[in-house]
Structures are given as C-alpha cells and as structure tokens.
C-alpha cells in the first residue's frame, strides 16, 4: 500500500502570502540545501506555520504537518500495525511517509509531545538520516528531499514542557516574533484587504496587549487574531464589536485585562 502512495497531494498548490521580516527565507533555503533540520521558535500566531508552508511552495516540495499534543505517542509519528481481514497491516505514520517520499515534515508545537515521543526523530536529524521501524523490523533510509522542521513556543514557561538539550542541539534555529508595526500593518491589510489606517490601529491594539504579556496575559494578541478582527471589519461589523470578538474575548477571562483592553480599543478607535 505504501508503495502506491501519492505524495503529490501534500504539495502546496497556490502561493501562500508571506511577508518576510528579515533574512529568514535565504537562511531557510541554505538550511534546506544542506538538509539541516530547522527549529522555528516564536509566539503563537506570528507566522511560523505560514512560513513553512510558503517555503514548501517556494522549494516545490510536499509538506506534511503534524500538530503535536501530549497524548501523541511514537507510533502516531512512525506508524503502527492495524488489523484487516487478512491479519495485520502496517500503516506508515506521517514521519515515515515524509522520510520515504521526500517531503518536508513539520512538527508543530513539538514541546506538547511527550519527551519519549520526541526522541524518535533523533536518528533522522543527524548524519544517519534513517528511521528505524522496530515494530516492523525495517530501517527506512530518508529520501534525499526529506527535511524535518519543528516549531515551538518558548513563551510557555513550563518546567515540564521544554525540549531536551539532546533534541534541541540537532537543529538549526530561526527565531520569529510579531513583525514590526509597519510590517504587521502591511500583513493585516494585504491579507484581508482592509485599509492601512484601520490595520495600523488594530496593530496598535495588538501592541498594547503584547505589553501585558506576563502580567496576566500568557500571550499577547497574535497577528492571526488581528487578521480575524480585520476580516470581521471587512464584513461590515462595527470596529469595536469586531475587536471585542476577535481580540479580547479569545485571549483572556480576566476581568481587569478585559476592561483595560476594551478601554484601549475605545481610545484607539475614537470617532
């Protein structure tokens, strides 16, 4: 079954919109040329996943994305035996698929996965570039186009959820952050078609909220949420209502913060 697998379905057909913030595109390309695994760090909703998607499109490679969670086990990544009418059948997991067929494998929010799960990627990420499937008794040699990309959000200050040094030190890293105000304004307006003035005001609210990070907010308002707000405004919703719905309600249950942010919205969107 795995031999007839169509990897084409994972290719990125249309160019995703991505606004470069620095030299990250050139850096990533260099890393890909050497097939170095890449680690993307940055707060949620700042464009990590979009960047990987864009690079996959740019390099014309298929992209397999795995959203990691704490219940994920090694077999969810590499594959497992399943029963069918004739007995058991091996099904490749996403990581094995990518290694076999030469795709970029993107493990999103990798810290969420348990540490015993993350170690299965080790042999793929050094000079060996192999993936042993011990249950199946097979050693998969990675395809020449295969590359591993992982992302994580260093903002979650949690002792339990950090990558092991032995995992971290297998990657080349790229650090992401929310773009500078002008750039972010451009992103919001280009993504939604909203006027730059409104986009700039949304970004101003976003920046106000980001200053509250660590003071009651775990995470500031992400670019993604700003885009949501802009999308709502584009549909003719009142600006303040749209902001409340997209920017305030999702990020906090804290009445004090909500009050502060609502005041900020009123102050920024006057008249």
């Amino acid at each position: 079954m795995s031999n007839h697998f169509d990897i084409k379905q994972y290719e990125v057909a249309k160019e995703p919109f991505y606004q470069a913030q620095g030299k990250e595109i050139a850096l990533y390309e260099a890393a890909y040329n050497a097939r170095l695994p890449v680690l993307l760090k940055g707060p949620t909703g700042c464009g990590k996943s979009r960047f990987v998607e864009y690079m996959a499109w740019r390099l014309q490679k298929p992209l397999i994305t795995v959203a990691c969670n704490e219940d994920m086990t090694a077999s969810d990544l590499v594959g497992r035996y399943l029963l069918d009418a004739n007995g058991t059948t091996w099904i490749d997991g996403p990581l094995t698929l990518a290694a076999r067929h030469g795709a970029i494998c993107y493990l999103d929010e990798v810290v969420e996965a348990r540490q015993d799960t993350t170690v299965v990627i080790h042999p793929l990420t050094d000079h060996r570039r192999t993936l042993p499937l011990d249950k199946k008794g097979e050693l998969v040699q990675a395809h020449k186009d295969f590359q591993l990309v992982i992302s994580y959000n260093p903002g979650y200050q949690n002792l339990m959820k950090d990558l092991k040094q032995s995992t971290k030190q297998r990657f080349a890293g790229l650090e992401f952050d929310y773009a500078k105000a002008e750039v972010e304004t451009g992103i919001v307006s280009k993504e939604t078609g909203i006027s730059t003035e409104v986009a700039a005001k949304l970004v101003q609210i976003g920046e106000a909220a980001r200053k509250l990070k660590g003071h009651g907010l775990d995470e500031g308002i992400s670019t993604r949420l700003l885009v949501y707000a802009a999308t709502l405004i584009q549909q003719g919703i009142e600006t303040t209502d749209a902001c409340r719905m997209a920017l305030v309600c999702p990020i906090t249950d804290d009445a004090d913060i909500r009050d502060t942010l609502e005041h900020a919205i009123d102050a920024v969107f006057a008249d």
Partner: protein
C-alpha cells in the same frame, strides 16, 4: 402674615442671646416654612428651652431647624423636638447641642424623612452601645463617645452613606468594648483603624481596588516604569491635594466618585475612567515635557505656559489615541463666556480655563477673538510638528501680555468652572535656579526607622474576621516568621528507633501507595499500541465467526502524584501538659508523631513543610519554620524539631492564612494543610471565645477558595464542641493521645490515597 411681635410673644425663652438673634432666625425660617410651620418651630424652641439645658441648645435649634424642615418637610420639627426632649432627660443630656448641630448636615445628606428617622435611631443605638454597663443596666450611665460621634458626623456624611456610617459605628463599638478612651479617639477619627474603616466604607471607585487595572492601563498604552501613590482626600479639609508627578512617581487620589452627567454635556464618567484620564495626561507629560526655567516668569505667565503645555501634550497624546479627546472633554470644565463680571475680581483663571477648553475641544463655542487667535496659532504650530515645551512658553507669555487686565492681581479670584481635576500640578515642568522661599516641594527626609534586631523579616499583616460585624478587620494580626532554633537532632532518631515496628508497618503501606510512573491501560478501542494478546483473541473470535472484541489497543498513562503538604503545629502552652494516663507530654508525643509523618512523607516523595505557631496578642503571632517544602528530612530538620517548645496562646486563623500563603505558591495538583492542635483558638487579648473560632473558620473557607484542603487533627477530647464549627467535616479527634504517633501517618495516608 404674623407680625414679629406676635411671634415674640409666642417665644417663652428669655435668654438675651436668643432674644437678640430671634428676628433673624424667623426671617430665615420664613424662606422655608409656612405659618403653621413657624408656629410649631417656635413651640419646639419653647419645649427645648423647658428642658433646662441653658441657651446653647435653643440657639442651635433656632439656627439649624429651618433648613432641616425645608429639606424634609415640617413634620420633622415635632420628631426632632420629641427626640431632643428624650435625649435631654437621659444621662446623655450633654450631647444635646452636638446633636442639634448635626441636623442640617444629616438632612442635606439623607434627603428623606425615612432615612432621617434611621439616623435618629442610629444616634440612640450608638448612645446605648457605648454606655458602660453595670449588671447589664446601662440607662444610668453617660456614653463618653456620643458627643464625639456627633461631632464627627458632619464629616462622615460627606464621605459615607448612612449604611457606611452604621458600619463604621459598629466597628468602633465592637473593637473597643473595654477601652472607652480608645473608643473615644476612634469616634473622634483620631486612630488609624478609624480612618481605615472609613476608607473601606467610602463610596466611589477606590484606587486600591483598581490598582492592577490601572497598572495594566499604563503598561499597555503608556510606559509602565512608574509607581502609583494614592493620597487621601478625606482628611485634608483646608486645601484639597492635586494629583502630581515627582521623582518618586505619580501621586493620585485614593478614590474618585463617578461623575454624574451634567446639563452642558460634560460629566458622565466612571471613576475608573477618571483615573485613566489622569494617568493619560501625566503619561503624556512624561513623554513630551521638558523642563523650563521658572525664575524669569511671573506666576501668571507660568499658569498660562502650563495651560499651553498641558494642551500640547494632550494634543500629542490624542494623535496616538484619538479616543482620549472624548474622555477629556467630558472632564474638562466649560466656563461660560459671558458671565457677569464684577469689579475687583480676578478673572485670570476663568480666561485660562476658557483657553484650555478651546484648545482641547474643536467644538467649543467661544468667540473671543484673542482666544480664537491663540487657538489657531497653537494648532498651526502643532500641525507643523516637532513642537517643544519652549514653544509653549513663547505662546503662554504672549497670551498673558495680550490679555492682561488690571484686576488680574486682585486677591478675589473667580474660581467657578476653572479647575481641571484630571490635570496634575506640573511641578516637574519648572526648574527653579535661585533658591526662593516659595514653591518648595521637597519633602523632609525622615530618619530611617530603627529596626528591632530580633525580627529581620518584617511582619506579614493579616486581616481577622469579625463575625459580629461581618467584616474583616484590616491588617489586624502581625505574623513574624523565624527559622526554629536547633537542638539535638539525635533525640529524634532515638524517638524513631522506638517506633521501629510501626515504621515497618508504615513502610508496607507506603510501598503500596508509592506512585508508579507508567500504567498500562488495556482494552481500549483506540490507543497507542496494539495489545497483541487481546488482538489475537479477537482475531480468533473473528475467524471462528464469533463477535470479536474491538477493544484491542492499549495505551499508557502517567501516574504521578502531585501533592504538597503543609503541617501546621499548634505550639501553645497547653501542649506542654501531660494528659491523663500518659507518661509523656503532648509535646513529646507530637514530636514523635511529626517525625514519623515527616519520615513517611519523605519516603513517598511528596513535598512537605512543617511550621509551628503560637501567639501573644494580635501584635505578636510567631510562625516557626521547621522544614521547608524542598528541604530533606535531614539532621537540621531533626535538630529543629528536637528543640520544639510550648508557649503562649493559639491564634489559629492568622497561622492558617500564613501557612496557606506559602502552600498556595506550591506547584502541585493537590494541596493539603494539616493542622495539629490540642485546643480551641484563644488569645489573651480576646475575651469573646467565638471570635477566634469564627475567624479560623473563615480562614479555612479562604483556603478552600484557593484550592487548599484543610484537615485538623485535634488532641482535645472535648473538641467536638468547636472543631466542626471551624473545619466542617475535615477533622479527626484523637482521644487516645498515646497512639498519636501511629495515627498521624495513617491519617495522612488515608487522606492522600
């Protein structure tokens, strides 16, 4: 209309001072009362005169009553007179003038006859409750506090609602039942707690309740590197302080009332938004204002420069946050352009306030050409960009030169509608080069307070629950914490040796309870791995035509325990007693029990802290640390335990709060606070036995709200009377104290199983 002489005939009081003011009083009364009202007004004066308390009460009555009757209706006259006569017959007759003096302010604040009657009742209650009682009879003694209370009411009505005043009285009555002198000071508003309670009962938006919100506001929209210091408006009668910024930080009022909507469109601002308006203004100064030399400018010039500079920073702030304009416009007064100008009155403030309004509000209605000219110049300058404080100095000086009038220096100043209360006093704008004798804002350096050597850590203050008044007494109890001094740790080892057999039994239970790291969960429809045994069985079932079990997967689960435990020992003097039928004191038994427990918990791997407490009045509650959460069960801990001593009393609530404070900061799924005590809460400065029990109960409720499970192990056989009141069902009474060493670890294990 009755002639004055007729009224004079009605009046039976012949005091010369009364006679001399009577005509004026009647003239004043006519403004408020009907003829019938005047008649009962005079009859009331006669009645008060007949009480035989001299001319003073009559005079006060004649002065105050018309206003009261005007506000509350004429029927109030009779009620007041009846009340006054009753008061005059009571031992508290001295308070009659004080009482009559409060009538007008009470009527103004309450505005309804029902509330006014409640106020009269409050006066009676206060008198009764503050009178000394002998054999339960109080009708024959004078209340020393009543005159003081009545003197304070005028001030209280300005700050509090009637309910607030009642709470304030309740506190004073309850707090000093046996100390009339302190009570008097309380009612005179002379003690800190009197102020604190007043503050708590105030209406409006209290700074303390919104400090976090305001901090966030600064952080989100401005800079956050500034401290906020509230000052009180309540006690500065002569001159209300103005918000200001100095090197320390921003000083702002401790309370802002909501501003009701005015007819001219201003107002309608919540208290919290008034704080934000103030902070936005000051933050704008911090960003854009630079210092100017003050020496060369006259006071008027400085005032004018300040107006321009305030407007400049606000203009810049509004470019950033346009919504501020609406807020500031609501708070900025709108002086009326064409008022009746009176000769010899200085209108400089009014002129500047108009200018300031015109600079802020594009929809202003002023037509004065000079003002319009300067507004236009200001806006042209601002539109050009890159303005500085210096530019404003030029504008300000020119404005004063152009509009100066001879009357400006008059000492009579027109103040109406000129105070912009969200603006600070701009003290950081000015730099004085030559030292003058005026406008020095520096505060005198206070010598650093000497510290007692014994207490290196400052005390933590905790509130205490007053069940009678149903409120917290703020910052009532001081808890001092120390590391317990060490003794000889080998004694503890000896105790543990004694219980070797018990330890062995405990070890078995511990092994059973110890968490396993990974647990296999079988029979899952969806899981991490195929469970081959089950899968084969299912396959065979399938092939043989039977219904196969689809639950052929298995997964793993982490089975970690996360329990933080705090053990709180009551170290009061009673612990030193040797209970009947025992050879050891409770203290020694506790030592054994705690040692065993600490050893057992160490085996289980849960973080455990051990603390002890005793108290010597509310000012000195000692909290001793024996073992910290991460500390190992080693020699140092043993040495501290070996030195355990029993002294003083049991103020449990504060100790629970303190232990809970540390426990709440532990990272654990379950938090357990164990309290080992041998008696009910008591302290030498508390005569009401219920008080500390109720307070401890409240503390347990607080713990519950923080997700802390509280459990009491009580060694007092008679504990049933009170322990359930404090801990609900979370307690165990150990009757056979000799078995404590065995029971304590067992209890613990059954709790965390």
């Amino acid at each position: 209309m009755t002639a004055p002489s007729e009224e004079r005939q009605l009046l039976q009081c012949k005091f010369s001072r009364v006679q001399s003011v009577f005509d004026d009083c009647i003239a004043n009364a006519r403004r408020y009362m009907s003829d019938a009202g005047i008649r009962s007004y005079i009859e009331g004066a006669n009645a008060i005169n007949r009480t035989g308390r001299g001319e003073e009460p009559v005079l006060v009555y004649l002065e105050e009553m018309p206003q009261v009757a005007g506000l509350l209706g004429e029927s109030v006259i009779e009620e007041v007179v009846t009340f006054t006569r009753t008061l005059a017959k009571s031992p508290n007759s001295k308070a009659v003038p004080n009482f009559l003096q409060t009538l007008a302010s009470a009527a103004r604040a309450l505005e309804s006859i029902e509330l006014f009657r409640e106020y009269l009742q409050l006066v009676v209650d206060t008198a009764v409750r503050t009178s000394p009682k002998v054999h339960g009879i109080d009708a024959m003694y004078t209340s020393p506090c009543l005159p003081d209370f009545l003197d304070s009411t005028a001030h209280l009505f300005g700050q509090l609602s009637l309910a607030g005043i009642r709470n304030w009285v309740d506190y004073g009555v309850a707090a000093y039942p046996n100390d009339p002198e302190r009570q008097q000071e309380y009612f005179r508003l002379k003690t800190p707690d009197s102020h604190a309670v007043l503050q708590r009962e105030r209406h409006g938006t209290l700074f303390v309740e919104h400090e976090r919100k305001l901090g966030m506001y600064l952080r989100a929209l401005w800079q956050d590197d500034v401290n906020l210091y509230p000052y009180s408006l309540a006690f500065d009668e002569l001159r209300k302080p103005v918000p200001y910024l100095n090197q320390q930080g921003i000083h702002l009022p401790d309370v802002y009332d909501d501003l009701p909507k005015q007819e001219n469109g201003t107002g309608g601002v919540r208290g919290i938004d008034r704080y934000r308006a103030l902070l936005a203004h000051i933050s704008a100064h911090r960003l854009w204002t630079t210092k100017l030399v003050a020496d060369n400018l006259s006071p008027f010039q400085r005032m004018s420069v300040e107006v321009f500079e305030d407007s400049r920073v606000e203009w810049l702030a509004m470019q950033r946050l346009p919504g501020l304009r609406a807020l500031w416009c609501k708070l900025h007064p709108e002086p009326i352009d064409y008022i009746e100008y009176i000769d010899g009155v200085s209108y400089i403030r009014q002129r500047l306030a108009m200018l300031s309004r015109a600079l802020l509000d594009p929809q202003h209605k002023y037509t004065h050409p000079v003002i319009l000219n300067y507004v236009a110049r200001f806006h042209a300058l601002m539109a050009g960009g890159n303005t500085t404080t210096k530019d404003m100095q030029t504008l300000g000086v020119q404005f004063i030169a152009e509009t100066r009038q001879a009357s400006d220096s008059s000492s009579k100043v027109h103040f109406e509608d000129t105070v912009v209360d969200y603006r600070d006093d701009n003290r950081l704008l000015w730099q004085f080069i030559e030292a003058g004798d005026e406008e020095v804002f520096e505060e005198r350096q206070r010598p650093p307070e000497e510290q007692e050597d014994e207490f290196t850590v400052p005390p933590r203050l905790y509130p205490e629950w007053d069940y009678g008044a149903e409120h917290y007494r703020p910052d009532w109890v001081s808890v001092y914490e120390h590391l317990h001094p060490q003794g000889n740790g080998s004694e503890i080892d000896r105790l543990l040796d004694k219980h070797k057999a018990l330890a062995k039994r405990l070890q078995k239970i511990i092994d059973l309870l110890k968490p396993q790291n990974k647990v296999r969960i079988r029979y899952q429809e969806e899981g991490a791995e195929l469970d081959l045994d089950v899968a084969l069985r299912s396959l065979i079932d399938l092939k043989s035509g039977a219904q196969p079990d689809p639950r052929i997967n298995m997964s793993h689960r982490h089975d970690g325990r996360s329990v933080a435990v705090s053990l709180l020992l009551d170290l009061s003097a009673s612990l030193g007693d040797v209970p009947e039928g025992c050879s050891q004191s409770k203290l020694e038994l506790s030592q054994e029990a705690v040692s065993l427990l600490a050893w057992a918990v160490e085996q289980m791997g849960d973080p455990l802290a051990i603390g002890g407490f005793h108290s010597d009045t509310r000012h000195n509650v000692r909290y001793w640390h024996f073992k910290g959460y991460r500390e190992h069960w080693g020699n140092e801990v043993k040495a501290r335990l070996a030195n355990m001593r029993a002294e003083y009393s049991t103020r449990m609530g504060a100790a629970i709060r303190h232990a809970g404070h540390y426990l709440a900061h532990q990272q654990a799924d379950k938090k357990l606070l164990l309290i080992l005590t041998d008696g009910e809460p008591a302290d030498i400065d508390v005569s009401d036995a219920r008080l500390l029990i109720e307070d401890a109960h409240k503390a347990v409720q607080e713990m519950d709200q923080q997700g802390i499970y509280t459990y009491c192990i009580n060694l007092d056989p008679g504990a049933d009377d009170y322990v359930a009141d404090i801990f609900g069902k979370h307690y165990a009474v150990i009757d056979n104290i000799a078995r404590l060493p065995e029971r304590l670890p067992q209890l613990f294990m059954s709790l965390v199983k």
